[in-house]
Symmetry: C2
Subunit: 250 residues, 2 copies
């Protein structure tokens, strides 16, 4: 936890925040804080700033920390990439949501595809209260406060034929990852890399040809990662990192 | 499993390989192969080629597959990056070894550092027979046969002061990842990106300043990944992917 996050409705009018459970224990046991210490803190979808430990009450699992928050930096910039992912098994999805969030994504579209197991859509992880902690974990890691917006799309065709045309004008480029595709992201190096990117990465087993064609019909450009075939989670991190390099993000 | 791998000593003089256990079950149950079918296969640290299913014997857990291997492509190219990692907890190390191998690394140095928990060095995972399956998993994923060479270094100072000077001449550049470092890999874009790279990524919690100074004394260049602080496993994949883009690897 490199940044302590709280919900916007947790802050009182006098700028105090009362923390219990995981967060108060982290402050005491891992950070070893005492009253008077100052830690980095931020409001989810709000500003980053500092939190002064005003008081520590109780002990062990019941410890409560009272924090006085001062906003300093405003909200971090909006990430320049949105992500489409062919839904993966829950254990991989947890990790992927945290990792993608730590690298910075604005929206995450979890979609169906031929090689997605139907049972994945009934996973309890797809309820907001269950996946949100993994997004928060990614934000805490990367010192960000902007929670990605996650939406779930159980049917491929309506997503690609109806949703994509609606959101396409938001993007300067749309890319679909496809192993074996000879063109890597390097061809984008010469271009002026402004604007937003929409990146689609297939489920385990990849997109089927029909799906790649549908993406191309919607003006997605297929891109590869060399001759290597990567797992979905590895490919997402790898491509987000390459886009970060191309943008020259600091 | 995108490439079926076997040990060099598993192939007989008549080019047959007898497979049991995980691999034979994968061929039957996941790939649904029958006698006469041909799959991609390769010898660990040897050539890639095709394997014809000659026979399937037995059933269920005891199924045995007889494969006739024909080498076709020779051994994949030697990866251009070696990796130093501050030892991480075993559950992350398993994933990290598989992911780094799938992206292609020649050597992996697992080293001690101030923020490495001492108990990690007594983890049973550090025995070759226990970590090797994760390397093989990475190769099977990426269709590679070159097993990274893993070495374990329990003391930081002898590693940085004695080992590094011995291997430094092998590298065109040595980089140490350090969050908050303002210089990203983008400055390497203009340079001629030939030769090998040695990349050092810190343990969970990062390198301490003393360690970064020791790396710099040995001519490592500190590089960052923007303002975001990433977990060790995310940082390794992100930096390997950025190096891949800079090399223009296909």
């Amino acid at each position: 936890m490199n940044l302590l996050l709280f919900e916007p409705d947790e802050i009182k009018d006098d700028n105090t925040v009362f923390l219990q459970g995981r967060r108060s224990q982290h402050i005491i046991e891992i950070l070893g804080c005492r009253p008077g210490d100052i830690i980095r803190a931020g409001a989810i979808n709000g500003p980053v700033g500092s939190g002064e430990i005003l008081a520590i009450r109780g002990k062990g699992k019941n410890v409560e920390v009272v924090l006085l928050f001062s906003a300093q930096e405003g909200q971090p910039v909006h990430p320049a990439v949105d992500l489409i992912i062919g839904l993966v098994r829950p254990v991989m999805l947890k990790r992927l949501l945290a990792q993608a969030t730590s690298l910075g994504v604005g929206r995450i579209f979890l979609i169906n595809a031929n090689r997605v197991e139907k049972s994945f859509f009934s996973a309890s992880l797809l309820k907001e209260e269950n996946y949100r902690p993994y997004l928060v974990q990614g934000l805490e890691q990367a010192k960000d406060t902007r929670l990605p917006q996650v939406t779930i799309h159980e049917r491929f065709k309506p997503f690609i034929e109806d949703c994509i045309p609606q959101i396409a004008p938001d993007y300067a480029r749309m890319l679909v990852a496809h192993p074996g595709e000879s063109q890597g992201l390097k061809h984008l190096l010469e271009s002026d890399f402004a604007g937003r990117t929409l990146l689609a990465v297939g489920p385990e087993g990849g997109w089927v040809d029909f799906e790649v064609r549908k993406f191309i019909e919607q003006s997605f450009v297929p891109v590869g990662l060399g001759r290597r075939v990567l797992r979905t989670d590895t490919a997402v991190v790898a491509l987000l990192a390459q886009l970060m390099l191309l943008r020259g993000e600091r």
